[in-house]
């Protein structure tokens, strides 16, 4: 994990409940030097990392039930914020269709089953045709949905998705406006 070659295109989020962890301060220092956007997630107001970052996210949850055990409320608050950062940004770059995870990687049995269900939920197709579409789309759930919605071939569907920056609604709308309204 060392030496990841940070550039000014990256965003660095420093996480420290206390807001004073030297490791994080050093990282944010470097990120600023490189010109990356910096954010600081800490649970104390006006902390050292909050002051140095471009954006300060400081949910103040108050004293812990067990004094100083910051894996409790503070850890929960951090987890909630991190959930939002990745989930919201992934949705914003087209990783969902409606509220379905259409880019999930189909890497185990549970995920294969979920992929089937997503396809059925998104298109109303039968379980049997879901299986066929998934197979034709080489387990690419997003592509399989587009094919089921529009009748496109895998190759045409892929082109349409590329042209729509990976946004399934946009790709489907170009073909069949009512689907994505």
């Amino acid at each position: 994990m060392k030496e990841i070659g940070l550039t000014d295109k990256d965003v660095v989020v420093g996480i420290a409940v206390s807001g004073r962890t030297p490791y994080v301060i050093g990282g944010l220092d470097y990120a600023k030097k490189v010109g990356a956007v910096t954010a600081a997630l800490s649970c104390n107001p006006d902390s050292a990392i909050a002051r140095m970052a471009d954006i300060a996210i400081s949910p103040v949850v108050g004293p812990e039930a067990l004094t100083g055990s910051t894996r409790l409320k503070s850890g929960t608050a951090q987890k909630l914020v991190l959930n939002m950062l990745t989930t919201a940004s992934m949705i914003r770059i087209g990783k969902s269709y409606e509220n379905l995870m259409v880019d999930l990687s189909v890497s185990n049995e549970k995920l294969v089953a979920r992929a089937h269900r997503i396809l059925v939920d998104a298109t109303g197709c039968s379980a049997d045709s879901a299986e066929q579409f998934l197979k034709a789309a080489n387990n690419n759930v997003k592509l399989a949905i587009l094919m089921a919605l529009t009748g496109m071939t895998a190759a045409d569907g892929q082109t349409a998705l590329n042209n729509a920056d990976g946004f399934l609604r946009r790709a489907a709308a170009q073909h069949q406006p009512r689907v994505a309204s």
């Binding site: 060392k2 070659g5 994080v24 050093g26 990282g27 990356a36 004293p63 951090q78 990745t86 919201a88």
Partner: protein, 147 residues
């Protein structure tokens, strides 16, 4: 930083303060302890609610970065580092993105995920180094600094 300074600094932190509502937690039954913890937990989503504008602003920056081929990098020590690694590692299966698009860095490296590594979080240099390009780049920077 001297021990006295550090102790004084920690004393100022809300997250290190004693909670008057749980002073007798050592006398409570299991049911009472979990009820007390649950009461405290209700404050968490209220606290997060107050910082939503900053969270959304960060999301906007991350979206911009992703669109430009950039990455999201979390850095932290101990529990904070673990949470970043956890969130980063869930992105490839959930969203089908390549590993490395969201990166979690923890002070002390991967071993620190399972084992406390003494003093790992205390080094600014390590935080700096974990983000750096490569050794030659680092040396060039050092040369520049010397001049």
């Amino acid at each position: 930083m001297t021990k006295t300074n550090l102790m004084a600094e920690l004393e100022q932190l809300v997250s290190e303060a004693r909670n008057p509502k749980t002073m007798q937690i050592d006398l409570m039954s299991s049911a009472e302890i979990v009820a007390a913890m649950n009461r405290e937990d209700t404050r968490v989503s209220e606290a997060v609610n107050k910082v939503l504008p900053q969270v959304a602003a960060t999301v906007d920056k991350i979206v911009e970065a992703f669109r430009a081929g950039g990455r999201l990098i979390y850095m932290g020590a101990g529990t904070s580092g673990r949470l970043g690694v956890l969130d980063a590692s869930e992105c490839p299966p959930t969203f089908g993105v390549p590993e490395g698009m969201v990166v979690g860095l923890i002070a002390g490296g991967d071993r620190a995920l399972r084992h406390p590594i003494e003093g790992a979080e205390d080094s600014r240099d390590e935080g700096w180094r974990d983000l750096e390009r490569d050794r030659s780049y680092r040396q060039r920077r050092r040369c520049r600094h010397r001049r």
